[in-house]
């Protein structure tokens, strides 16, 4: 009888104790540096459509920042125990939500970086607000990060839809692309891009004649491309507001369906070096787009890009460069504050004006945590003129920080 009781007990407990013990109960605090170490978490797309523009190389960029910080401060560093952890959010908001919580609470991350995919980025912002820890977004374009959903723990670091639209939308419309048919991925990023491009194109005297949401992610855009061809009157411009792997699909199919021959030009909302590589610089040569940074910008940028290439084998995208810059800003602020407590670190960051290889004439706006800096209107270089295989970018003009980003949104309240 006794043995039976034991075995039934075991059956009940089987599920709960299946894989032994996990983390403990409520968390504990203490010390100036929590857990005596600083943990930088990179939450990114490690396997999907944005894995090239961010992904494993974003982790490499943050690791570089940590190595450089160690070298700079040596023994004077606030702690010599700095760790970089990573996780894959698969571009899904629910996974981002769980992973972010996991990284902050169980893996003790003090700050998260990267997070492409706007819907996932917004999910992480919610978690950062709940756990009261810092979050530097470099991968997502939605203006809501520093708008309606802003909170004191989130910094929108690299770029946003407003910057892209003001640069590209206005430039293309002024060059004669008046009537636009836009297609945008149906999630936070695409929806925001559509709004901002509408405003920018209309502001420059153009018009969005139609705009269609497309599934995200998707392989087949033929429905929309055929629609563009059949539309009457014919649009001057197809505005492709996709990003990453999706954008590559759109552009390839734009070629296949011969829209260019039909007199429909292509405008691209967001273009990364990794996309140009995937699509082919010859196909895109001459296409103008707006970027937060490009590696051949000047000697300082090139020097960093060379070190990046030594480590990873490729040139960095602007998201990866922004990750380095943000991680460095964060570590410097921790050094100054002498603690990794989010509120104290953020006091050192807010209102700071700085220049580095990535961010020029930069200010960390205290009122909405938008980091404003110069942006660039550029063109895809003719491969014949390129100095190396990954030299894709030809400057057109610099957009000064004050014009590149919108004024702080009235929707944002930090408290």
């Amino acid at each position: 009888m006794k043995r039976r009781l034991v075995s039934t007990f075991a059956a009940v407990a089987a599920g709960t104790l299946l894989a032994g013990c996990g983390g403990g109960g409520p968390s504990s605090g203490g010390g100036k540096i929590s857990d005596d170490k600083i943990v930088l978490g990179v939450l990114t797309d490690l396997s999907g459509v944005y894995a090239d523009l961010a992904g494993a190389n974003s982790v490499a960029a943050v690791e570089m920042a940590v190595a450089d910080f160690r070298k700079k401060y040596g023994d004077k560093a606030v702690t010599d125990d700095i760790e970089v952890i990573k996780a894959d959010h698969q571009n899904k908001p629910e996974i981002a939500n769980t992973q972010a919580k996991e990284m902050y609470e169980r893996r003790k991350a003090d700050a998260l970086f990267d997070v492409p995919t706007s819907s996932a980025a917004l999910a992480v912002q919610t978690v950062a607000g709940q756990v009261k820890k810092l979050y530097f977004n470099t991968g997502a374009a939605t203006t809501e990060l520093a708008g309606k959903t802003c909170n004191p723990y989130t910094y929108a670091y690299a770029y946003d839809a407003y910057m892209l639209a003001q640069g590209t939308g206005a430039a293309v419309a002024k060059q004669g692309g008046k009537n636009w048919y836009t297609i945008y991925p149906d999630y936070a990023f695409g929806q925001d891009m559509q709004k901002k491009f509408s405003a920018a194109v209309t502001g420059a005297g153009g018009k969005i004649v139609a705009g269609d949401p497309t599934p995200f992610p998707a392989d087949n855009y033929s429905t929309f491309l055929l629609k563009a061809k059949a539309m009457k009157p014919k649009p001057d411009i197809l505005g492709a507001l996709q990003a990453g792997g999706d954008l590559a699909n759109v552009v390839k199919q734009y070629e296949q369906f011969k829209l260019k021959d039909a007199g429909i030009g292509l405008a691209i909302g967001l273009l990364f070096d990794s996309d140009i590589k995937a699509i082919g610089a010859d196909k895109l040569a001459g296409t103008s787009f707006t970027t937060a940074w490009y590696w051949s910008l000047d000697d300082e940028a090139k020097a960093w890009a060379d070190r990046f290439k030594d480590k990873t084998g490729v040139r960095p995208t602007f998201v990866q460069a922004a990750d380095y810059s943000a991680a460095t800003r964060y570590l410097e602020a921790v050094q100054q504050a002498g603690t990794d407590k989010a509120e104290d670190v953020s006091k050192k960051l807010d209102g700071a004006e700085f220049n580095d290889f990535f961010a020029r004439n930069a200010t960390i706006r205290a009122e909405d945590h938008r980091v404003v800096h110069d942006a660039y209107l550029v063109k895809v270089k003719d491969p014949a003129k390129a100095t190396e295989a990954e030299d894709y970018t030809e400057p057109v003009k610099t957009i000064p920080a004050a014009e590149a980003f919108d004024a702080p949104s009235p929707d944002c309240s930090m408290s």
Binding site: R4, V12, T16, G22, G25
Partner: protein
């Protein structure tokens, strides 16, 4: 049959059942001390969901492949109520469960006209309908972005810590489990089991089989809704994943792992799957489904009664080697004698 049943009655005397119950309670109360609290709360939610599903599959013989519809629509409804009304989270969860039951009524009413694979397909079709509705109705559900920032309110209590939330969610889950147990062990549950085993005979006795099936279906959806609402509260988030067919598949896996028709086995199945997924994802292994799928195949091939079913079967056989050996999938926890007379000739 009666002899076999009374033998089984002897196989588990009252004190063993009391000990089992006590052990189970200790396990659920101690869970957030051993596990990361959000994961512990996930186990509660999935556990209740799997039990609700087993109520339908194991005790009424209906394999629904669209239970994500109820789990997910409740997750959205709960979230919307909490966001727009600011009511205590219990009210929001209850509202979500009621919404799930309301959605289940027409679906069940239509689906019970078919059985077996056709029933599964009809429920899957409706669940996909709800998935696409949630996807397209972006202004309400947030579409691809999901419903974010669902508050967890209860006057006078700070529920931001998942550890605290666990203990406030636990009573709801226990009530849900109690309800499932009560349904199975009621005359109503007996009739449902009769419909599962021999619908023609139950009809001949004067019961409306379809109506019984609809009621079990709606009850199962209501309990699934409770679980889905608590899950949305746990994560502060409701997304399309909650109404996607993979969620329907996951609950089937849990129930089969635990043992179909064992009710409590589903809890073990849910705990095992959630714990395993968490363990795999934190150890950096990305192909979680490969492993859960492999285990599922092994269980189906080797232990057709599932974890719980196999254990209780082995225990019984040791006590009673000559006892009847019912078919896998038809192992039921009917310790008490079956109701020999219809309690109510008219359907409820």
């Amino acid at each position: 049959m009666i002899v076999a049943l009374s033998r089984r009655l002897h196989a588990r005397p009252l004190w063993v059942r009391a000990a089992l119950l006590a052990a189970g309670l200790v396990a659920v109360f101690g869970l957030p001390w051993v596990l990361y609290p959000p994961v512990a709360a996930d186990i509660l939610c999935w556990g209740l969901f799997a039990v609700a599903f087993d109520l339908l599959l194991g005790h009424a013989g209906l394999l629904s492949f669209g239970h994500a519809a109820f789990w997910g629509s409740s997750a959205y409804a709960t979230g919307l109520i909490a966001i727009h009304s600011g009511l205590p989270f219990y009210v929001a969860v209850l509202g979500g469960a009621v919404a799930a039951a309301v959605i289940a009524l027409p679906i069940g009413w239509l689906a019970v006209r078919r059985s077996g694979i056709y029933f599964a397909m009809v429920t899957l079709a409706f669940a996909q309908l709800i998935y696409f509705t949630a996807n397209q109705w972006g202004s309400v559900t947030g579409g691809e972005n999901g419903l974010q920032n669902i508050p967890r309110d209860l006057p006078g209590v700070d529920l931001t810590d998942s550890f605290v939330y666990y203990y406030y969610a636990l009573p709801v889950v226990l009530l849900g489990l109690l309800a499932a147990w009560r349904i199975v062990h009621s005359p109503f549950g007996r009739v449902a089991a009769g419909i599962r085993d021999n619908p023609a005979r139950v009809r001949a006795l004067g019961y409306s089989a379809d109506r019984y099936k609809v009621v079990v279906f709606v009850a199962s959806a209501f309990l699934s809704g409770l679980a889905g609402g608590l899950y949305a509260m746990n994560h502060g988030f409701a997304s399309l994943q909650e109404v996607y067919w993979t969620t329907s598949g996951k609950v089937v896996v849990m129930t089969v792992l635990g043992g179909i028709g064992t009710l409590w086995g589903s809890l073990v199945g849910a705990a095992a799957v959630v714990r395993l997924e968490d363990w795999l994802s934190t150890s950096g292994f990305e192909q979680t489904q490969l492993v859960t799928g492999g285990i599922f195949i092994a269980v189906v091939l080797l232990f057709r009664r599932g974890v719980w079913g196999t254990v209780s079967h082995l225990l019984r056989r040791r006590d009673d080697p000559a006892g009847e050996d019912p078919e896998p999938g038809l192992v039921h926890d009917h310790e008490e004698e079956t109701a020999t007379e219809p309690v109510s000739a008219s359907a409820p």
